[in-house]
Subunit: 211 residues, 2 copies
Amino acid sequence: MKLYDYPKAPNPRRVNIFVAEKGIEIERVMVDLGTGEQLKPEYREKNPACDVPMLALDDGTYISQIRGIVHCLEALYPDVPLLGKTPSEKGLIEMWEHLAFMDGLLAVAEVFRNTSKGFVDRAVVGPYGYPQSPELAERGRLRIANFYTAFDSRLADNEYVAGDAYSMADITAFVVCDFAKWIKSSIPEDCANLLAWYDKISQRPAVLANP
Amino acid sequence: MKLYDYPKAPNPRRVNIFVAEKGIEIERVMVDLGTGEQLKPEYREKNPACDVPMLALDDGTYISQIRGIVHCLEALYPDVPLLGKTPSEKGLIEMWEHLAFMDGLLAVAEVFRNTSKGFVDRAVVGPYGYPQSPELAERGRLRIANFYTAFDSRLADNEYVAGDAYSMADITAFVVCDFAKWIKSSIPEDCANLLAWYDKISQRPAVLANP
């Protein structure tokens, strides 16, 4: 098994923290997003969606998308469960991970990819050339503000994002908060619950090992 | 257990087909998206994300987001598995379901929600008032065209979207193809694999029962 990786970027980081929490050792293959290596034929034939990370199984199966990778790894390495044990936990973790992705990660990406010089005509992850939209960047800033307040409310009554246990939903929400620094956004001072949770998560060894 | 539902809309339909495939009987509570019932305080206090469908467990837990609902139901009713049995199947189903959602469902929604009169200042699902963007609607049309060709290629060598077995990835991709009719888009004639797959899925009893 090999993990195609680019540790600096937020999506690979979600998987790298997940892997570190489980204590799994996986061989890495670096794909340099800085030079567009993910768009070159050699990578594209393995992964037509041209995104990183990607998991290569020993039988020749390639699995991309964070959800694909973490569900495969959770099934292979069920110790240290990060996707829930009971039906209710599984549902809540998927729900909150999806909300962190949709309302947080995509919101920051809307700003970043629609304003950065390096992403002219590449406003959406993948092989297609979509133009940048200043309007969309502006909307992203509104959305990330709403993400902070929604998750701050959630954490008023819950120790972790999906409830009592640390999970993949925390990993994604935490990576969103760090990714937001790329667009000079940070957790507002009045989001005390979110700030306290952020400090707690930032001290986990798996997070410290994947800065 | 109760399912908050609005069968005409594409996201509830994904869950309704999933439930029908499994042969589960669940009490329904209708939430009228046509009159904005999902935004009213009574629903919002159960689901601050203000979206439908939502699953209410008997212990008072509310689970929203399609991913949350189907993972909870798959764990409760493991017969007729629709999220995979082996680690590789689980990974591939999550991967392809995510691609169908991101590149298909969100693309159609980009067009629909940014052009329909009923969604002025509600361009994003949920409680916040985001303005419509004609630019984004235009980009959505490019994206749905790329969805058709990418899934047509995938189905050249695979009977179902995630491989040999029918799964949640087929349900979402199928609902995308029908949702596209709302924006007067349809599978192009040169996508023979996708057209043949669409015909096959459309004849499943669970699909016929949830038009």
